[in-house]
Subunit: 316 residues, 2 copies
Amino acid sequence: MFRPEIKVIDCTVRDGGLMNKWMFDEEFVRKVYLANAAAGIDYMEIGYLSSESAFSRQEFGPWKFCAESDLKRIIGDEEKKVKLSVMADIGRIDYADIPHRSESSIDMVRVACYVHQVDSAIALAHHCMDKGFETTINLMAVSTVGMRDLNEALEDLAKSRVPIIYLVDSYGAFYSEDIDTLAAKYMERLPGKTIGIHTHNNQQLAFANTITAIINGINYLDASLYGIGRGAGNCPLELLLSFLKNPKFNVRPLIQVIEEQVFPWREKIDWGYFIPYMVTGVLNEHPRSAMAHMESDRKNSVVEYYDKLNGEQAHV
Amino acid sequence: MFRPEIKVIDCTVRDGGLMNKWMFDEEFVRKVYLANAAAGIDYMEIGYLSSESAFSRQEFGPWKFCAESDLKRIIGDEEKKVKLSVMADIGRIDYADIPHRSESSIDMVRVACYVHQVDSAIALAHHCMDKGFETTINLMAVSTVGMRDLNEALEDLAKSRVPIIYLVDSYGAFYSEDIDTLAAKYMERLPGKTIGIHTHNNQQLAFANTITAIINGINYLDASLYGIGRGAGNCPLELLLSFLKNPKFNVRPLIQVIEEQVFPWREKIDWGYFIPYMVTGVLNEHPRSAMAHMESDRKNSVVEYYDKLNGEQAHV
């Protein structure tokens, strides 16, 4: 599948950091950066842009903040080899803490929001655009949003100056038919905009749904090394690149950094296909209770978890 | 997705046995049988039907042979609660060793063959039908078969009396577009026959491709508990049942047997998404070299394996 408009965004550090409070050491981030550059990845999302007034550096690692000094150490003395992206959450970043692009190593700011935050997200995104950044809005958890609310949000986004809007399957709840339907809706209601896709792997459909998105004309594709990310994780970057078969991409550097840097994290954190994540995906729920279960000493007691979640749903 | 013609076949013991020489103990097989019955699964494929002249009982567990005495112990004294299926490989079973259905606990014999064995497969399948069994032919590794050979095989199968023909992605090499294309071809060239699907998960597409097959009218669906099966394994049964949402199915007994019986096997054998299996899937190769790599003491040296396989392909 070769389409020059396609851009691949590696979310390893940003989404993977949701599993370890962004405690990746500098070597990890530097090696991922170099692997992305060698593989021909378009953007590396290196973390969140957050104000230090919102989070403590004692509790969270450097990639929760993405200070310029930290970014500079990752890039080193050479010319920057891959564009850097950061994610910004509504209310977690003061406008005054957002640098101008000319003073920053960041190229793109992606604003994540829930449907009721769309107006705030547009304001923040416009602010970032005015400071020179490429910008996207990533509308999260749309699997739980009613048709009327979604249409209204898309109408607001269509009127904005933000050029790239993401379809996000936060809970890993979508089947390919859902992606077909929503991609068509986003295309129709957001004329002239580029659409992106961010998937989660609760039902082992992250890669498949990304392919479905590509077939539907979606051009910004999120993925991560070995699928590392919150809960069940994301679309595996090495699978996506193998599928795209664009000569500009090279899978080998990804395999190398997976072996050297990602495998050791498998011993410390559990992302990927596990029954608790599967259960929240099927039930279209936030994975937070599954993550808590996986971090408890009863992580293999999956029937207990299944009964708890299904009981809760039955009594809503 | 509710369609009464859909039948689900659990391949846990048969395909999972490819990873442990069918050394599952009786408790495992009995618990899987009871879980399948409680979950509303249509068929349980309990192993291979092989002649003892072809394989040694010293080397292989009971589910490589499926002797009637072993099947009876699994079923116990109660009425049989789920239909039993066995797989037969060409040349590994003497016709004389195949019982008559009236003397057997087996309901269905599935004949697995490569494209050059289609005539032998049809003969064996007809023999099984004449002995009273439900019968399928599972045409393996079609991702490596040329168009002309495939058309010829389908022509032979169309003329046969065998009512059910399987599309098999032995190497986990297919994308959903391949399934679309092949499902349409099988439907067109096998008028009046029922089509089945058997997938492998090398590229995390086993479940997605099974859904694509369903959308294309394929009605016999193979899956296994937690995806256990050769190499990357199969479509996970718990995901498939959650998707089908047919009121006759019940996911909870599957979660329970996964916790009690399947989790312990995760400590002993490596099925699922691993880089070596991903590499053979992408390259459309048999997983045997990946399985050998995973069983070696260098299983995490995935760059070495990647280079070896890609080097071999480059020099063909």
